[in-house]
């Protein structure tokens, strides 16, 4: 297992390197000078622009900037945000709980609703539950999450006045103020994930239920519950855990748009505004955080998959 883990980590090194390079190249391709954007509407002379350029190192050749940038990023120093005038890391840490609240809650709902529904759909194939699961997953994957967000605001916040329509309260301000503002975004983000996991779970379970060892367990006269839980589910779990990990990475991407809909000050909202303001350092940092989280989850999923499945590990 250890040697597999090491091999896997070694393979991630070039991927990380290319990912970082892509982030650098794309952020340097942003139109317009960040200096002009930084100085805003101020009437400035050429000398001032040059001074700020030199201060932030924008005047040097791009390759030189890159060679200076890469080791700095790898050492965890993300630089100074042009707009917040404080270290980018500080801004990101401040935003992180919002994005994590949203993605983790959505993942919890997805697991709690999606996996049981998928299992029941497979076990009671053709039943009302199976039908419900199918409709829910087809709709979930077709509804644009941001539109679903607005429909929820329209129905629950504006129409029924049950929950606040947007904004964020940190957990320190109380559990309910935090949760009440998270419920609608969580539903909007999780419905598409539920759609995916229901289908995944259902088809994996059907495949497993069709195998000879499950037939064998049945032939021995085991109670159906034991057959499903101990023989089928345990084997299906390998695939399902993998899918859950990938869903988390997907949720990180989805949160970018959902945060805009519900005015949640998270990483996604930060990235979109930083892109518009050409705040290089903040944009890089935000994308880096989201991407590294996804990368880490992918790595963990790979390792978990190998742990549960000796065929992968020993191949």
């Amino acid at each position: 297992m250890l040697s597999y883990a090491l091999r896997r980590i070694v393979v991630f090194v070039p991927t990380l390197f290319i990912t970082l390079t892509l982030i650098f190249v794309l952020t340097r391709m942003l139109p317009g000078s960040p200096v002009a954007s930084l100085l805003g509407g101020q009437s400035v002379n050429a000398a001032k622009i040059e001074e700020v350029s030199r201060q932030f190192g924008f005047d040097r050749p791009i390759l030189e900037q890159y060679l200076e940038w890469l080791p700095r990023i790898l050492s965890g120093s993300l630089g100074q945000s042009l707009f917040f005038t404080k270290p980018v890391t500080e801004v990101l840490i401040q935003r992180l709980p919002v994005t994590l609240s949203l993605t983790v809650l959505a993942l919890m709902v997805t697991i709690a609703v999606g996996i049981p529904l998928g299992i029941l759909s497979a076990v009671k194939r053709g039943s009302f539950l199976d039908y419900l699961g199918n409709v829910l997953s087809s709709l979930g994957m077709a509804l644009p999450p941001f539109w679903l967000g607005f429909v929820l605001i329209l129905l629950v916040a504006v129409g029924l006045k049950l929950l606040p329509s947007s904004g964020y309260r940190p957990l320190e301000m109380g559990f309910w103020p935090w949760l009440s503002r998270m419920i609608l975004p969580t539903i909007a983000l999780s419905l598409s994930q539920i759609g995916l996991i229901v289908r995944m779970t259902r088809s994996t379970m059907l495949e497993v239920l069709d195998t000879e060892y499950v037939g064998m367990a049945r032939a021995k006269g085991m109670p159906e519950t034991v057959v499903i839980v101990r023989h089928a589910l345990r084997n299906a779990m390998v695939q399902i855990i993998t899918a859950v990990g990938l869903l988390f990475a997907l949720g990180l991407g989805g949160s970018v748009i959902i945060e805009q809909v519900f005015a949640l000050p998270g990483l996604g909202e930060l990235i979109t505004t930083a892109a518009i303001r050409r705040d290089y350092a903040t944009l890089e940092g935000g994308i880096l955080y989201l991407t590294l989280m996804a990368l880490l989850v992918n790595l963990l999923v790979d390792l978990a998959y190998a742990y549960f499945n000796p065929r992968v590990r020993l191949a």
């Binding site: 070039p14 991927t15 290319i18 990912t19 892509l22 982030i23 794309l26 952020t27 391709m29 942003l30 139109p31 087809s138 709709l139 994957m141 077709a142 509804l143 644009p144 941001f146 539109w147 679903l148 607005f150 429909v151 605001i153 329209l154 504006v158 259902r202 088809s203 059907l206 495949e207 069709d210 990475a249 997907l250 990180l252 991407g253 989805g254 970018v256 748009i257 805009q260 809909v261 990235i271 979109t272 892109a275 518009i276 944009l283 994308i287 989201l290 991407t291 989280m293 996804a294 990368l295 992918n298």
Partner: protein, 266 residues
């Protein structure tokens, strides 16, 4: 499922092509007196804050959305199949292609598309490029996997011993085996293209105004969510409809081409 999906998609195309023949279409016509009207006979879907007819905008938006999705999917198909075949066949090229496409897949969801559009600027062409970059790695992987699976198969070796070139073997002997999974990937990529385009234009990174994109219409309607909620409903409903029809086609193709999932689906 395939037939239902195809029927729904045909209806959407008919809606896009025929509505202009049935009602006067003027997606940009501004009228101060007619602003924020609820649906009526004159304006079947009401009007927005500038008095523009919503049905007109929806139809034109439908054209934009389908155009982007078709173009992005065609690009994805050409480059995905080409690069997938080459990298499955030649290990030296594979190292580069796979490494880059794996790195592209690491970026969560639309983050990569947001970066690309921020760098290139919002326009219809750049949305096509962004969607293409987002989905081409998936097709490369699918085709590459099929090539690797079959490149040492008996029928391939037989063809080679008869003197067939690499190109001939790849295109005529191996690629036919990859058509099924590739079609499924492409149809799912097509529906994702519509969702991603809607999301990007919602963020203001799609085709710039006054082009009436579906996502842009939803974004514009959010200020009027209390006073004119109907503005929000139609664009979202049509996105859902379009994506649903394409997903049904994708599922139908998968069931048709993969007997295992057909058994599971019933």
């Amino acid at each position: 499922m395939l037939s239902v999906g195809l029927m729904m998609l045909t209806l959407l195309m008919l809606f896009t092509l025929l509505t202009p023949l049935l009602v006067p279409i003027d997606p940009l016509g501004i009228s101060a007196v007619d602003k924020l009207l609820p649906p009526s006979l004159d304006h079947l879907l009401g009007t927005d804050e500038l008095g523009r007819d919503q049905l007109s905008r929806l139809v034109v938006g439908s054209g934009i959305s389908l155009r982007i999705a078709v173009a992005a999917t065609a690009l994805t198909a050409i480059f995905g199949i080409g690069l997938g075949m080459v990298s499955g066949q030649y290990p030296a090229i594979d190292i580069v292609v796979s490494q880059i496409s794996d790195s592209l897949l690491i970026f969560p969801g639309v983050v990569l598309a947001i970066m690309i559009l921020a760098a290139l600027g919002p326009s219809e062409l750049n949305v096509i490029i962004a969607v293409f970059v987002l989905y081409v790695p998936r097709v490369i992987r699918t085709v590459r996997a099929a090539v690797i699976e079959y490149r040492d198969a008996d029928f391939v070796q037989a063809a080679r011993s008869l003197g067939a070139s690499d190109l001939r073997v790849l295109v005529l002997h191996i690629f036919p085996r990859a058509i099924g999974p590739t079609m499924v990937q492409l149809s799912l990529g097509f529906s994702s293209a519509i969702l991603v385009e809607a999301g990007l234009s919602f963020l203001g990174l799609g085709a710039p105004p006054p082009a009436p994109t579906w996502g842009g219409m939803i974004s514009g309607a959010r200020e009027y969510i209390r006073t004119a909620p109907w503005l929000m409903i139609a664009p979202g409903a049509i996105i859902t409809y379009a994506v649903l029809s394409l997903n049904l086609i994708g599922d139908g193709l998968r069931d048709m081409l993969d007997p295992r999932s057909r058994a599971a689906g019933q």
